[in-house]
């Protein structure tokens, strides 16, 4: 996994709630057997019409917006467990998603793929969305080490939560497999002492 430290960039606003993983990457694009290339079909049906022409009203097609940060309405990533959703967002160049609420599985999938979910209050999310829509060139700084989102335009910073272990993993580019495999002995002991085994 790629290491994550500080991201400074503009943002793309998606002021829609309950964005489900079927919108992020529709099921018909899940047929690949590798992890690459999903970015092309990120938000496919919101981004393109039936003939493959870009829908100009959609933020990702709007040249005013750019950057590695996606700011989206609450309950982002609900629905299916497809990790392809996190892959697609990452593949399209995003490193951070800001929302006021993330669906559990999506949050985990994002963290396992070097994509940082930053949860903020409803109120702050609202202000951030407004700021980006009004001033698309606004820059944001996401500092994972300090667990801080800094908005230079407001000279304001807010802290965000992240599990300390997951933070370590992101900063160092580690993932859970190495750790779990290193636990083999403990797992074998557990298996041998189980009161009830299936």
């Amino acid at each position: 996994m790629e290491k994550f430290e500080i991201i400074q960039s503009g943002a793309v606003p998606l002021p829609i709630e309950n964005i489900d993983t079927d919108q992020i990457i529709p099921a018909r694009f899940l047929k690949a057997t590798s992890r690459e290339g999903f970015g092309e079909n990120l938000f496919r049906d919101w981004r393109y019409d039936g003939d493959g022409n870009p829908k100009m009203g959609f933020a990702l097609n709007n040249p005013r917006y750019s950057g590695q940060i996606l700011v989206a309405g609450k309950n982002f990533g609900c629905g299916s467990s497809r990790e392809h959703a996190a892959w697609a967002i990452h593949d399209a160049g995003f490193r951070v998603v800001i929302s006021s609420y993330f669906a559990d599985i999506f949050r985990g999938n994002a963290l396992n793929n070097g994509l940082l979910p930053v949860q903020v209050s409803d109120e702050l999310l609202h202000r951030l969305l407004e700021q980006v829509e009004q001033e698309p060139q606004t820059q944001f700084v996401v500092d994972l080490v300090k667990q801080e989102l800094f908005i230079p335009a407001w000279n304001e910073s807010v802290s965000f939560e992240i599990d300390p272990y997951k933070k370590e993993c992101l900063i160092n580019g580690y993932d859970d497999i190495d750790f779990l495999v290193s636990q083999k002995e403990a797992i074998e002991v557990y298996e041998s002492t189980r009161a009830w085994a299936y």
Partner: protein
């Protein structure tokens, strides 16, 4: 301290705790063709063997066609994914119920049906509806592909313990009110994010009185309110269902298992982080009108006119997509497609409800009604009971098993703009094909809609 059902099973599976995270042991790992290829690649790239291959079961379900399953899959990408699964399973020695196998079917239908799913277990699958298996009093939840690889490599996950919620539904469900209506009702009350971060236990007399099929329908849709999973304490209904199935314990082992399973319930006075109470009498046949499963109303009700401040934009967008207006009733709306299937409602009990209703009736001429059984066994059982004949006479098409129009990864797609009353679990934009408009309902409501060709009040059929 008094323990909940969830605590008992969770604690029995902690290999070790570190800070807020547990190394959590998984008893059964179910895999399918869509979310496993990258995981197999991951462990191969690291030269890791499958740690406990006997605890993995594979099936091909998401991509498979529902006609002519004996022929090679036409669609090249789908075929490739299914072939890849076959290849990976052969290479790693994993048991596979592939196309044509007598045990093939939707992963969440075959687990219970083969007795693989048992009380007290921990079960994962790279699929959010893994919550279905919680109906047996198991901790079962969906995981991402990176986690699929973790479980392949270690039979464990590194996760934090979710909070606990209990949803109690007491009373007696009315005639024509099914498990599907119960869960659509609950989700409409809590909203699609209402249980995010929680693991739900369903309790109360209305839940207890459900069959195993009904309980699976309820637990299946837990994820639609954001829950990590849902579960129901095992009881005589559960034990009777599991007993005698292919993978169920036999003889002395059955007795031991049973003794353990009987200890799996939430103790009186155990605490939950959140509790909700509903009465079964409030629930009537339900339908959804919007683009998330929380947007449900009583069939005879009206689409809301007001939503909480801040949600208006999403609400309007959703209604525009569906072609509905606030305050409108859905009664009388013409429907062209009816889909009965998916891991929510494709079990034999669901097919029986449909068959019983359509006996001597015929679908409306403008409706295409397809029924996709959840598994080969369900299909065989339907044939044995003559359900296939009844359905054919009524103009319903009984297909071969798979996920089908639930997520439209195969050819079974609803055209753009068309309405489909569907017994599946998600009405997201484009879920059943680009531009498709899905209305979620129970198998009975779906069958009545097919016959009427429009949405009607079902009460007239109930007496």
């Amino acid at each position: 301290m008094k323990k909940t059902l969830f605590d008992k099973i969770w604690e029995a599976h902690v290999v070790r705790s570190m800070g807020g995270l547990d190394v959590f042991y998984i008893d059964k790992h179910l895999i399918h063709e869509v979310t496993s290829p990258q995981a197999f690649d991951e462990i191969s790239a690291r030269n890791l063997p499958l740690y406990r291959k006997n605890q993995i079961v594979a099936t091909a379900d998401h991509n498979v066609p529902t006609v002519n399953q004996h022929l090679p899959i036409q669609e090249p990408l789908s075929r490739m994914q299914v072939d890849k699964l076959t290849e990976n399973c052969a290479k790693h020695g994993v048991e596979l119920f592939g196309l044509g196998h007598q045990n093939q079917g939707i992963v969440h239908v075959i687990g219970p049906e083969l007795g693989i799913t048992q009380p007290g277990m921990t079960i994962v699958c790279g699929d959010s509806h893994t919550s279905t298996h919680g109906a047996f009093g198991a901790i079962a939840f969906g995981i991402g592909t990176s986690q699929v690889a973790q479980v392949m490599a270690s039979q464990c996950l590194l996760i934090s313990r979710p909070k606990k919620m209990r949803i109690t539904v007491d009373g007696e469900l009315g005639r024509g009110v099914s498990a599907k209506d119960l869960i659509l009702y609950v989700i409409s009350k809590l909203g699609t994010g209402g249980a995010t971060g929680y693991f739900v236990e369903y309790a109360g007399s209305a839940v207890r009185s459900l069959s195993m099929e009904g309980r699976m329908t309820v637990c299946n849709m837990s994820i639609e309110m954001g829950a990590r999973g849902g579960m129901i304490a095992p009881d005589e209904t559960t034990f009777a269902y599991v007993n005698g199935r292919e993978h169920a314990p036999k003889g002395e082992r059955w007795e031991q298992a049973l003794a353990y399973w009987k200890t799996l319930y939430s103790e009186e006075g155990a605490t939950f982080d959140k509790e909700y109470f509903f009465s079964a009498e409030e629930i009537s046949p339900m339908i959804t009108y919007g683009t998330n499963p929380g947007m449900g109303i009583a069939l005879t009700g009206a689409i809301p006119t007001t939503v909480p401040a801040g949600e208006t934009a999403s609400f309007d967008k959703s209604l525009e997509y569906m072609g509905f207006a606030p305050g409108e009733s859905l009664l009388g709306k013409e429907v062209n497609y009816v889909f009965i299937g998916s891991c929510t409602n494709s079990r034999i009990e669901d097919l029986r409800v449909v068959a019983e209703f359509v006996k001597g009736r015929h679908k409306a001429s403008h409706v295409e009604a397809i029924i996709v059984p959840g598994s080969k066994h369900v299909e065989q059982q339907a044939i044995a009971e003559g359900i296939d004949v009844l359905l054919a006479e009524a103009g319903f098409e009984l297909r071969e098993p798979g996920c089908s129009a639930c997520l439209a990864m195969n050819e079974d797609k609803i055209p753009a703009g068309a309405y489909c009353v569907s017994t599946s679990n998600r009405n997201f934009e484009g879920r059943q094909g680009p531009g498709s408009r899905t209305l979620l309902a129970s198998p009975l409501v779906a069958a009545i809609t097919a016959v009427e060709g429009k949405i009607v009040d079902v009460t007239k059929y109930l007496n």
